[in-house]
């Protein structure tokens, strides 16, 4: 369960996120979409407790991030767009490290299963420098999933992956949600979001333009047409007011 209430994030005098609220129940996958600079990364970072938010509340599995950051972080995993790994730790040592940080008791069978699922078993003793970009991303995912988080935040999780990697990533996101995790992800690959997300939230200049299930959002912007793609909806929703719907003028 992820709850964000009236989140505001300012950088100096610039407001990147303006009073955003959202709730993601267990099992749901929320897709955060919006043009470059809309505030997606800022929102995800605030939600994961990486950067302090200017005001507003973030609750992860019912734990308030501001009051008990450690308790809240125990339940979440964050995946930045560029996988961040430690240069000097092998794949297996990464899992060992993370297990100690989160106090994951029986991490060895768990880690082995994760590595097998992500097809990293062969590379268990390799350093990040010897991994391809996609493999690095998989390793970051394995590290994030080891403590069975209840909330997942993924920033542009599909960039740089090969078609098979994208499929796998989609499958594992869906699988985690099925297992009861709440997921928020941002992506510009709209047709892929359509396959993964149960909900979408369209963000522009830090403000929520629309949110709801895919069906709800598309009915709002489809003007009654049938079979409008998410791409079309995105374009309509984020178009500037003055050049949108010229017919209306």
């Amino acid at each position: 369960m992820i709850e964000i209430v009236e989140l505001v994030k300012q950088y100096g005098g610039f407001t990147a996120v303006r009073g955003l609220s959202l709730t993601v129940p267990p099992g749901a996958v929320l897709g955060l979409v919006g043009p470059n600079g809309a505030g997606k990364t800022s929102t995800l970072r605030c939600a994961a407790g990486i950067i302090p938010c200017t005001s507003g509340t973030v609750r992860i599995a019912g734990v308030d991030m501001a009051r008990d950051p450690v308790g809240a972080k125990r339940h979440l995993a964050f995946f930045p767009d560029e996988p961040r790994l430690f240069d000097h730790l092998t794949v297996r040592q990464h899992l060992n490290f993370v297990a100690r940080i989160y106090g994951v008791k029986d991490h060895e069978p768990l880690g082995a299963a994760l590595l097998a699922e992500l097809e990293l078993t062969e590379k268990a003793d390799a350093l990040p420098g010897e991994l391809s970009r996609g493999m690095k991303q998989k390793l970051a995912i394995a590290c994030g999933l080891l403590h069975s988080p209840k909330a997942l935040f993924l920033d542009e999780p599909l960039t740089g992956l090969d078609p098979l990697g994208i499929r796998r990533m989609k499958d594992s996101i869906v699988a985690r949600a099925k297992a009861g995790a709440a997921v928020v992800l941002s992506s510009h690959l709209l047709h892929l979001l359509e396959e993964v997300c149960t909900h979408v939230l369209i963000l522009k200049k830090g403000e929520k333009l629309a949110d709801g299930t895919l069906a709800e959002v598309s009915s709002r912007f489809s003007n009654g047409e049938a079979g409008v793609s998410l791409e079309e909806i995105f374009l309509r929703a984020t178009a500037d007011r003055d050049d949108a719907a010229p017919a209306a003028r």
């Binding site: 302090p52 730790l89 490290f97 940080i101 991490h107």
Partner: protein, 581 residues
């Protein structure tokens, strides 16, 4: 097309200068510039002025001596030229920036234009370098002439050097394209070199004078002798071009300089034409050179050398349960040499104990033991005062991964403490080995007029102090990294050299020293007062112990407060802005 390239260069330069100027609005750059300029002024200009005023500190070189210098310089230049024909192993590659490669290589530009562009853009650096060298050599009054003739002279030398290197690499590439292997080229070059050496030998045989004892013992005379040998016969002709290049630099006065300028310029222009006319493909090697360079820069920017990580066995078994800070110790130890492991320290400690016993038993070996103790003392000193500055495996390294660390269910102070553990453990380990070696030296304390019985007490006190003193400095260094993340990262970014950064480093060092002094002085006072007050009551050894404990407790409290505070800073750190750097 030329105008486009010129535009690129001029606007880049203008924007860079403007950006530098604009940066001055930020206090840290302004302060850095002031400090840097002040420093430069104090070491350079002031002494420069002083040295011209100082009579007879360096007498003006005689014409004879100048001639000797010129001959030896010409020989050196010839050796450099020769090496540029022997050393290159790979095809020619000119240094371009990444952007230049991206924009210029696919552009409709002839290779000649690219080369010309490269040469012209390289001039900026050479001119600055020549000006600096000119100032330097003028200040030292090495040659005759004035600052301007020196600068021009240096420019001629540097430019010829640069052009000759490029021309040679082009010619070598050409040979490679024709299928001449490096080995064959080197064989030929070696044969030529042998010929030259033979020639020198022959001309020496002609002059047929072995240097006298006087000449061998006096450096100046030896130089004169060597130049006399080199000046005679065919070697003179061989050195002639190099001498012509150097002549303006060594000109005694302005008219000599003007006379020498013509031939030297001719040589530079000849080189320029030669380089432009040699058409070889340098592109692929240029690209790979640039890639290597940016990889190196990126590594440096993160404060690391380009260390190739190697997979290592875990330093110790890391269980899932237990304090999470230890995980950082484990992780960061993995990024150090596998020598820094508990096992190594145990083995070394054993060796020190056994060796110390053995040495101590045989009186004739005692002097050796003293030397060992002196070495150990040096090690302890270095660990205490240099180690924390050299250590890197802490927050300063981990800050690059700050956004990952911040998702961990840890308080900020836990991350900070964890990050500090590795350098602390390593420095403490080395320091303790040094202390142990000192303690094993019989009668070391008696040398300082202390009771021999206090030897182990003193060693224990010192050993106790080692981690505190190291941690204190580590905390201060990491505080700087956290408080001024981008400042700290630019000052560590060796790639950028500028007056501001030099000044910033100076300010940093001064600040660090001040803070450490402020932290240590109260502890010293408390400890000192305790020792003075208790000495009469409990005897010196015990009083020393109590004083040490009192002082160190105060430092421990300071450290605890500081680490908590750093943790709060870490929690509040806006990684996104720092990562944007």
């Amino acid at each position: 097309m030329i105008s486009a390239l010129l535009y690129l260069k001029v606007t880049s330069l203008k924007n860079a200068l403007l950006q530098r100027a604009r940066r001055l609005r930020q206090p840290r750059y302004l302060l850095g510039t002031i400090a840097g300029l002040g420093y430069l002024y104090s070491v350079f200009w002031r002494r420069f002025r002083a040295s011209t005023a100082l009579p007879g500190s360096l007498e003006a070189p005689s014409a004879e001596l100048l001639g000797t210098f010129a001959t030896l310089g010409a020989l050196g230049l010839c050796v450099i030229f020769a090496l540029s024909w022997v050393l290159p192993e790979q095809r020619a590659g000119l240094a371009f920036t990444e952007a230049e490669i991206a924009f210029l290589f696919p552009a409709p530009l002839s290779r000649r234009r690219l080369v010309a562009y490269h040469l012209v853009s390289g001039q900026l650096r050479l001119v600055v370098l020549a000006a600096l060298f000119g100032l330097g050599s003028n200040r030292l009054a090495l040659f005759g002439g004035n600052g301007l003739t020196h600068a021009v002279g240096w420019w001629l030398v540097l430019t010829t050097w640069n052009l000759h290197g490029i021309g040679a690499s082009f010619a070598i590439t050409r040979l490679m394209d024709r299928g001449v292997s490096s080995r064959r080229r080197r064989l030929v070059a070696a044969a030529l070199a042998a010929g030259v050496v033979g020639l020198i030998g022959w001309s020496f045989a002609q002059s047929a004078r072995v240097p006298t004892q006087d000449e061998v013992s006096d450096l100046r005379q030896l130089a004169a002798y060597a130049s006399a040998v080199l000046d005679g016969g065919p070697v003179r002709w061989l050195l002639l071009p190099a001498r012509a290049v150097l002549a303006p630099l060594f000109a005694a006065d302005t008219s000599a300089f003007l006379l020498a300028l013509g031939p030297a310029l001719l040589i530079v222009i000849g080189h320029f034409v030669w380089v432009l006319e040699t058409q070889v493909s340098f592109e692929d090697r240029s690209i790979s050179r640039t890639e290597e360079r940016s990889a190196r820069l990126a590594a440096r920017r993160q404060g690391k050398g380009l260390v190739v990580a190697t997979a290592k066995a875990s330093p110790f078994l890391l269980r899932a349960e237990g304090r999470p800070e230890v995980a950082f110790l484990w992780k960061n130890l993995l990024s150090t040499s596998s020598l820094f492991r508990p096992r190594t320290f145990a083995v070394l400690a054993g060796l020190i104990v056994v060796g110390g016993q053995w040495l101590g038993r045989s009186p004739e070996l005692r002097p050796l033991l003293v030397m060992v103790a002196a070495g150990a003392g040096t090690v302890v000193f270095l660990v205490l005062f240099l180690g924390p500055m050299l250590a890197r495996q802490d927050l300063r390294d981990d800050l690059a991964n700050a956004d990952l660390l911040k998702t961990y269910p840890l308080r900020g102070w836990q991350v900070v403490l964890g990050a500090l553990l590795t350098p602390l453990a390593i420095l403490t380990g080395i320091g303790w080995l040094g202390v142990l070696a000192m303690a094993m030296t019989p009668g070391l304390t008696t040398r300082f007029g202390l009771d021999p019985s206090s030897q182990w007490a003193a060693a224990a006190g010192l050993a106790l102090a080692v981690p505190f003193v190291c941690l204190l400095q580590l905390v201060v260094a990491n505080a700087a990294a956290l408080l001024f993340p981008d400042w700290a990262s630019t000052t560590r970014n060796q790639a950028e050299r500028s007056i501001e950064l030099m000044g910033q480093r100076l300010i940093f060092t001064a600040g660090r020293t001040l803070i450490i002094a402020v932290a240590v002085v109260p502890a010293l006072l408390v400890g000192g007062v305790a020792v003075l007050a208790l000495r009469g009551l409990l005897g010196l050894p015990v009083a020393l112990g109590v004083g040490a404990v009192a002082g160190l407790s105060l430092i421990a409290v300071e450290l605890a407060v500081a680490i908590r505070w750093l943790g709060r800073l870490f929690e509040g750190l806006d990684v996104s802005s720092e990562l944007r750097g």
